[in-house]
């Protein structure tokens, strides 16, 4: 019944007429922020899992060694690595491959480079493998002193820390947006109370409780919050879907640059870092909570505002 008719024509108020649009816009902003935050989460997961399955072993240059000795040394190292439990493969990166990876940093000059490059071995692991890094290094340095193992741990930590800061910022922004929404509802409700003061007085005089009058406002706010929320969220989802290709390429760059040496297991890793980034059905469901949250926020704010302000009237 409350939906069918209301004793106050609140929907016609000039201030209230903009409320669905304002709330819609604010929900749109929140949904974008939440959507990006969810994708960041996904990105962090991707990074963690793809990098966990990789190691890079770097053999130092030893100009004293001849070609034959270098090949023997490499074979010994490869044998040692592949014999380690959890390792599924070890690939030596060819000079050409290394040059390709270095090209973004050094430009075409990389081809004319006359320096010897360290030998890089990309090691792939079983996803669930736990490698004792120190032990592996000890065994490797026994064969080749100064061998370095890079499991990207430091870089992943830094990157994850960065992503977490982004998420903290997102939470702050959403809080800011919701505060703005609440403030807008307070303003519109106060205006409504002033505009409809004569009718509210009549309602009081025929025996209406404060809560009855609050209900008029909160029902309207609930409706407006829901309308604005649904429109805002729908538009935000469209935007996020449209943004997906852009996001994908951006993260690819980040992964590439962030990987210090730029020398890793190659394409497979890149794919792993950014592959499948986008909103999952689960994320969409999470986003659909937003209109409900906004409707609830608008309703409670309106109710609180009416009950607080109305005390001063008769």
């Amino acid at each position: 019944m409350a939906w069918r008719r209301s004793d106050l024509p609140l929907h016609g108020d000039p201030a209230a007429r903009f409320l669905p649009w304002i709330l819609g816009f604010l929900v749109y902003l929140s949904a974008l922020i939440v959507g990006c935050s969810l994708m960041i989460d996904q990105l962090a997961d991707n990074w963690r899992t793809s990098l966990a399955g990789n190691l890079t072993v770097e053999l130092p240059i030893d100009p004293a060694l001849g070609t034959k000795a270098r090949a023997d040394r490499l074979d010994a190292v490869i044998d040692l690595i592949t014999a380690t439990p959890g390792v599924t493969g070890a690939t030596v990166l060819e000079q050409a491959e290394l040059e390709r990876l270095l090209r973004p940093w050094l430009g075409d000059a990389v081809g004319e480079l006359d320096v010897a490059l360290p030998t890089m071995i990309a090691v792939t692991l079983r996803p669930d493998a736990v490698i004792d890094r120190a032990d592996l290094r000890n065994r490797l340095t026994a064969v080749v002193p100064d061998t370095r193992i890079d499991d990207h741990g430091d870089w992943v930590d830094d990157a994850l820390h960065f992503l977490r800061s982004m998420q903290a910022l997102a939470v702050f922004l959403v809080a800011l947006v919701l505060t703005t929404a609440a403030a807008t509802v307070i303003f519109v409700t106060r205006t409504g109370l002033a505009v409809h003061q004569p009718v509210i007085e009549i309602l009081h005089l025929v025996g209406a409780q404060d809560s009855y009058i609050a209900r008029q406002f909160q029902t309207q706010s609930l409706r407006v919050g829901l309308t604005g929320g649904i429109i805002g969220t729908a538009l935000a989802i469209l935007t996020l879907v449209a943004m997906k290709p852009v996001l994908g390429s951006t993260t690819l760059d980040m992964a590439d640059m962030g990987d210090g040496s730029g020398v890793t297991a190659g394409h497979g890793l890149m794919q792993g870092l950014t592959g499948g980034l986008g909103l999952t059905p689960w994320h969409l469901a999470a986003l659909c909570i937003l209109p409900l949250a906004m409707a609830l926020l608008a309703m409670l704010t309106a109710r609180w505002t009416v009950l607080r302000s109305i005390h001063r009237s008769l």
């Binding site: 019944m1 008719r5 004793d7 024509p9 009081h204 025929v206 025996g207 005390h311």
Partner: protein, 240 residues
């Protein structure tokens, strides 16, 4: 209802009324008469809890109105029907919704509400205007709408401020019969008016506002009135 040495004023202004002492028996019927600007509407405001006395005691349904808490007001006001001098019907609600308002606020079922409201609107001659907005009604029709809203919930106390000011005498008398009908069912009625013809046509007791105070008055004492005071002295109905 009991008034004891009550004074009325607006804000820091002068007393409009003072030294008011009277009591109304439950189920009584009074005209409230006095010149324009004498303070009839102001006295009614005290009675419908829109104002508190500047001094003195106003006791309504056994409660001192000066000490009522905010949350006590709705329940008391639901026992009071008011016809405002300026009608105060709600402009965006149809005639039906206006009259239904007190019942909806009281939480009655919609089917019951519709039945009662339609019947009453027929009684006051607005059967053809159920879904009309007040703005499309004449002054007299709006007044009848205001009356219908005031009596729909069969209040214990009916306060009407010039309820017949905008209607011809035929309708005026018909409305008076409506009030008397309600009075017979036990409602205490107070009608403010300066329509002398109307007052003289009925033999109800009067509250007269003169010289800034209120006097109780019995216009034409019936044969038995010598042994039965028309209006009880203040204090004898403390539990009204």
């Amino acid at each position: 209802m009991l008034f004891e040495d009550v004074a009325v004023r607006y804000g820091a202004g002068p007393n409009i009324l003072q030294n008011i002492s009277f009591s109304l028996a439950p189920g009584s019927f009074h005209f409230l008469v006095g010149a324009s600007g004498a303070g009839k509407s102001s006295l009614l405001k005290l009675m419908y809890l829109a104002m508190t006395p500047a001094s003195g005691l106003v006791d309504l349904f056994g409660r001192n109105i000066a000490t009522l808490r905010r949350q006590d007001l709705p329940a008391l006001r639901r026992r009071i029907g008011v016809v405002f001098q300026d009608f105060r019907v709600i402009g965006h609600l149809s005639a039906l919704d206006n009259v239904a308002l007190p019942l909806r606020i009281a939480g009655l079922r919609e089917s019951e509400i519709r039945k009662h409201v339609t019947e009453l609107l027929g009684w006051v001659g607005l059967a053809d205007h159920l879904n009309d907005l007040p703005a499309t009604l004449s002054g007299g029709q709006q007044q009848r709408l205001a009356i219908a809203r005031a009596v729909i919930s069969r209040p214990s106390l009916l306060l009407a401020d010039e309820p017949t000011g905008n209607v011809d005498d035929v309708i005026g008398v018909r409305l008076m019969y409506l009030f008397e009908e309600l009075n017979k069912m036990g409602t205490t009625v107070v009608i403010a008016t300066h329509n002398d013809r109307l007052v003289s046509r009925f033999t109800h007791r009067q509250l007269r506002i003169e010289n800034g105070t209120v006097r109780a008055f019995d216009p034409m004492p019936p044969h038995s009135s010598q042994s039965r005071p028309a209006i009880a002295p203040a204090g004898s109905h403390a539990n009204d």
